[in-house]
Point group: C2
Chain length 441, copies 2
Amino acid sequence: MKICKLKDISSQDYKRIMKRSSAEFDKIIPQIREIMEEVKEKGDEAVRKWTLEFDKVEIDDFRVSSEEIEEAYNKVDDKLIRSIKQAVANVERFHQAQLPEPAMIDIDEGIKVGWMWRPIEKVGMYAPGGRAPYPSSVIMTGVPARVAGCKERILCVPPTSGGGEASKSEGQFTPPAVTLVTADIVGFTAIYKIGGAQAIAAMTYGTETVPKVYKILGPGNNYVVAAKILAFSSGEVAIDSLPGPSEILIIADESADPRFIAADLISQSEHGFDSSSVLITTSERLAEEVEKQIELRKENIATKEAIEHSLESYGMIITTDTLDDCISFANDYASEHLEIMIRDPSSILDKINNAGSIFLGPYSPVAASDYASGSNHVLPTAGYARMFSPLSVGEYLKKTEVQELTKEGLRSISETVKTIAEKEGFLAHKRAVEVRFEEEI
Amino acid sequence: MKICKLKDISSQDYKRIMKRSSAEFDKIIPQIREIMEEVKEKGDEAVRKWTLEFDKVEIDDFRVSSEEIEEAYNKVDDKLIRSIKQAVANVERFHQAQLPEPAMIDIDEGIKVGWMWRPIEKVGMYAPGGRAPYPSSVIMTGVPARVAGCKERILCVPPTSGGGEASKSEGQFTPPAVTLVTADIVGFTAIYKIGGAQAIAAMTYGTETVPKVYKILGPGNNYVVAAKILAFSSGEVAIDSLPGPSEILIIADESADPRFIAADLISQSEHGFDSSSVLITTSERLAEEVEKQIELRKENIATKEAIEHSLESYGMIITTDTLDDCISFANDYASEHLEIMIRDPSSILDKINNAGSIFLGPYSPVAASDYASGSNHVLPTAGYARMFSPLSVGEYLKKTEVQELTKEGLRSISETVKTIAEKEGFLAHKRAVEVRFEEEI
């Protein structure tokens, strides 16, 4: 892994590091649009067609039956179920604490204005397929939906997902047992064996089998993200933010343990060929030791190919003269994950403006939060931490303003309302206030 | 205005009422894309070109100077300035109350997980042009940005906006005086004389004059909304929700004053030809009286043409047998504004699931909240209250997760992390936990 002084980085290299690997949706949008349109028009028939095209399987009934879920329990060992239950419990505890309160504020005598919260009634979650089953994705999108109180919470998962872990029963494909068991523990109201853009389209427009939802959440590949963008653009649904490749930035001083840092950089880079792992440190000695540890530790890991490729393409060890330089870089980088491994890690929290999730001290590795510390692992990547937030209960709720004025309260602002309304040319607005005092004129 | 029994409404008519007037962005997207691309490539030059094309004026310097603002103060009378100041003060009080707190939760012994809030550093607001100047738009998007603490808060406003109220000084167009004065009172960091899609493009990509922002907020016409959709799709910026024509739904029983209801339906319908105004009531007598009052009161208003057209096309008075029928209709309709004029209006609040802003009782007209009660008037329209929230301070902030585990805290979840990580094929994640306990093995 390359070691470089911050002041020696060329502006071109700096731009490259800041940019990470970024997806180009423009090219795939036309193809995705075709899928969306066809599902809108033809419903299940189109979903069936694109499932055959992309997943290479024929599905009669997209909905996962209760028998399939029961069967899945027989295939998952107790230790894994215990682990899933502990993860769900911690994630639930954290998200429960996020439930916001209603409020009513006295703006002035006789003017009360406030808000209340309501769950979005119908939400659709997407769980990606891939090289393995990803039960943690199901937990991170499903638990906050239940905590928020969304009435209809559906899950779409590719029928052959999980790198061969999908099984065939009575000629029908069933997603990985662990995915179904996790979804059952989390508590979805329905699970569908549909993947990719056709899943997003089905939830956006509804089909004979899949209900239309109001918001779609959860990570996915570029096709899924492109479909979510189109779904949002159509005005039919809200979506959460746009996920990209995972990334980590570590700020460290000479007190940090190079083994921990190396292990965390490596673990981030195994996510895929396009993951970014960057260390920025005030200690040149640490930089060198971390580099050695990485060489040592990346061997004998099955995911070595992804690790080497992403460390090579998007990884870097940067040394600086001061801790403030590290902080300023971190705010520019706006990392999805930011580990702070310095003597008093929380001492610099106030200065961090842009980060998805911050990990303080030696015993808070990202890996813990990916699964079980309770926090949500669906986080803004690619610099989106500048404007987006981690997935939270708030994404499953919406706010309604509430206000009540007394006659005297209305009177106290009536001149203001009438004056501005008149200036804006809204004369009936002015009259709507005047009529309330008509008998007094 | 048509009076109809709820049970007599055909399913086709019901669909039409629910649909309101909806914009078709698809047709204008290609044209807007061209503008966006050109501004991205050529910066100010392209902005200048499209300003000449659409606004028919040549602008040398897009940025409003401090001299222009000073001059504007001379043109606005004291009463209007006092009104704007009262409105700003109330809107500020309401939005101050929305500032969220950070939190740190004990998930378990040795596992602390929480969050902190940070303002989005650079935000861009759009204030629409139109038949008149709209100072209230500037207040509603600008005040929460200042309250949130966003460092850079810029405003774009069409150079010739305000239905002729823009003025020419030394050959340069300047937006309406009241718009500039309001923006100055609200406290933007810079104001630019740019409108339409070219304004959204400039803030999305940045130009020589206009800084790139991270989020774009505020209402606009269909071109502006289409540009915001493209800006979001490009991955460059976040946006607030998609605004559409304004609308009101009133739930009333026989205790309500028909004059107030008529005035509020009329005031909503003057917003434009595509506004929707619906009354749903348990009282047939009230329905008839409201109808009479509307006929009476819509006369002699300068905005009569818009009022008649929108009442005709999207307005309706619906009668029901029970209050529950009204509530269930309201939840289906998911109105931007919902006035409740029944004997005990707050008694049904618990049953309302979908509404942008709720107005309780006879003295809480929408008009008051449009300007001065403190609430934000940028609200979800067209049924978006099912999944979107009113504009609030939260839209200008982002959350960062923070966590700190002790060694024992990490140990307590280490089996769970390792078990799920292994199942997901993330072996380096497992090792990132193991390395923390290496010396113990």
